[in-house]
């Protein structure tokens, strides 16, 4: 069975479109506009009433500061380094085959790494999936990776017991963690699901597989296994985390922290999809969805900053073009955020936990994906 053919079957099965689509769309549009006009009138009346009883009005979000002179270009135009991070570029919109752009530790200049690589915090090593014959890498789980010493060009290929993806370095650059999403590659159990992680150590022959039983959680079908994820800063406490089901409530999710031995340390009700762990491991940036009252029953993406232990919310802001997309923690109070986006110029700014811009970190430039490389343990 072929995937494309399956979609083509579905296309045939769709049959004829409903009648009067245009007429019904126009009717709905007119109705929506009437509702909007009525809502606007209500808002104006409410604002007027508020202004009468609260003359100073609610606090306003300060406008973002203008670009200060001398801010650097985005990678690979120049190397960025802020706080505990060096920042590389990942992928070039002008050349989709290009891999990772990073500062070469020997020359200090930017060079292009040929595949999707993860650079170690000390900048000396890279881990990447073995390049298949087609030249495409990084998309599918792989059972062979290479660890390369960037100073000596020495390569160490490693075979994994289970196909893994989403590789991440430990903060001391001594270990790589890969997420195992299923038992792909094992003929005896090709349909079973095994979730956990593999630990690879440069110089060691055998990787270590650590199973983590998270159970199903969320997702459209309720059986999404959830991924085990690592964040270099989470590793400082020797922990990774995974979303899993709540034993008492199968359709609810919990976020569980695991030691590198696979033992669960603690859990909290899932605050959303974890995007980044703060350098001191006390805060999480998470992405969640909630109903948007401005648009019927649709839901809107919303970022939250929560306490990593209790899940208590400490900040929140919507995900939109104005606020930008937060990518990673910069320090314990600020986030690296990309303004602009796909197909348009973008720049890197620092924002606080409520999405307000506090500092401009780069000029507007090409929209690269950025790779944040923690520096040192």
């Amino acid at each position: 069975v072929n995937l494309r053919e399956t979609f083509e079957f579905l296309a045939v099965e769709a049959g004829d479109p409903p009648r009067e689509l245009a007429g019904r769309a126009l009717t709905r549009l007119r109705w929506n506009r009437a509702v909007k006009v009525f809502s606007a009138a209500v808002v104006v009346a409410t604002a007027t009433a508020l202004a009468l009883v609260w003359p100073s009005g609610p606090p306003r979000t300060p406008p973002p500061p203008a670009d200060p002179p001398g801010v650097p270009a985005l990678p690979p135009g120049s190397e960025l380094a802020f706080g505990a991070f060096r920042i590389g570029g990942y992928g070039d919109p002008a050349d989709p085959r290009a891999g990772t752009h990073l500062a070469d530790p020997r020359t200090g200049t930017y060079s292009t790494f040929p595949v999707s690589a993860q650079i170690s915090p000390d900048g000396r090593k890279a881990v990447y999936p073995e390049a298949p014959a087609t030249g495409r890498t990084g998309e599918l789980p792989t059972d062979r990776v290479t660890i390369e010493d960037l100073l000596t060009d020495q390569k160490q290929p490693i075979s994994l017991p289970w196909a893994a993806t989403a590789f991440a370095w430990s903060p001391d650059s001594g270990t790589v963690l890969g997420t195992v999403v299923s038992a792909v590659g094992d003929p005896a159990t090709s349909r079973s699901r095994r979730l956990g992680f593999v630990l690879l150590r440069p110089g060691a022959d055998q990787p270590t597989f650590v199973p983590v039983a998270t159970g199903g959680c969320g997702g459209e079908s309720g059986d999404d296994p959830g991924d085990v994820e690592a964040d270099a800063f989470g590793w400082r406490g020797g922990e990774v985390y995974a979303l899993g089901s709540d034993p008492g409530r199968p359709h609810s999710c919990v976020l569980t922290y695991y030691g590198l031995d696979g033992v669960a340390h603690r859990s909290l009700p899932s605050p959303g999809e974890v995007v980044s762990v703060s350098p001191d491991r006390s805060l999480l940036l998470v992405l969640d969805r909630e109903p948007d009252p401005a648009f019927g029953n649709a839901v809107a993406d919303r970022y939250r900053v929560v306490d990593a232990v209790t899940g208590r919310r400490l900040g929140a802001f919507p995900a939109n073009e104005t606020t930008g997309t937060p990518l990673a923690w910069m320090d314990g109070r600020h986030l690296f955020t990309r303004q602009g986006g796909s197909g348009t110029p973008s720049r890197l700014v620092a924002t606080d936990v409520n999405g307000h811009v506090t500092r401009v970190l780069s000029r507007w430039g090409r929209a690269l994906d950025l790779q944040f490389i923690p520096v040192g343990p």
Partner: protein, 167 residues
């Protein structure tokens, strides 16, 4: 929407509704959901008609983004398995029918975003960068969502083939 714009909108819908409805159905797998999804996308298109340079591309992008943005998350319909597979010039064997029904079932278990990524990559044959632009996400997200979707399909439906997608 003035009379001339309304006339052009109606002409566009009349000419493209079949293809757009097919796409909505592939994304949802359910006739009612597909109709609702397409209807919502057309309302948005009509609202921005004067500024839309390429209506077909606009509606398609809106279909994808609505689908992955949690549209109709509340009270959504569950996709149903087809009782009878559509006729083909060369009939499938019993094994193929079983495999295909298995694929339908597995596709149903993907998240809307995973399914949308697969449709864009393997049905529309778009490169990763264009998929990212359509969905409004990063290339890295496209890669990870594709990997997860294919791994999940393999775990649920066993062996199937995919053509080499454009990088």
């Amino acid at each position: 929407v003035d009379a001339e714009a309304e006339r052009r909108f109606r002409e566009f819908v009349a000419g493209r509704s079949a293809a757009l409805f097919r796409l909505a159905y592939i994304l949802t797998g359910d006739h009612h959901q597909a109709e609702d999804l397409l209807q919502t996308a057309l309302v948005r298109t009509a609202a921005h008609w004067r500024r839309v340079e390429d209506p077909d591309a606009y509606v398609r992008t809106t279909l994808y983004r609505l689908r992955i943005s949690g549209w109709r998350r509340h009270g959504r319909h569950r996709e149903t398995s087809p009782g009878v597979l559509p006729e083909r010039p060369v009939p499938d064997s019993a094994d193929q029918v079983a495999l295909r029904v298995g694929m339908y079932d597995a596709l149903r278990r993907l998240t809307p975003k995973q399914r949308a990524v697969l449709v864009l990559r393997y049905f529309e044959d778009l490169p990763e960068r264009e998929v990212a632009e359509v969905l409004g996400c990063s290339v890295g997200t496209v890669r990870s969502q594709t990997a997860r979707a294919l791994a999940k399909l393999r775990a649920l439906a066993g062996d199937f083939t995919v053509e080499e997608a454009r990088p």
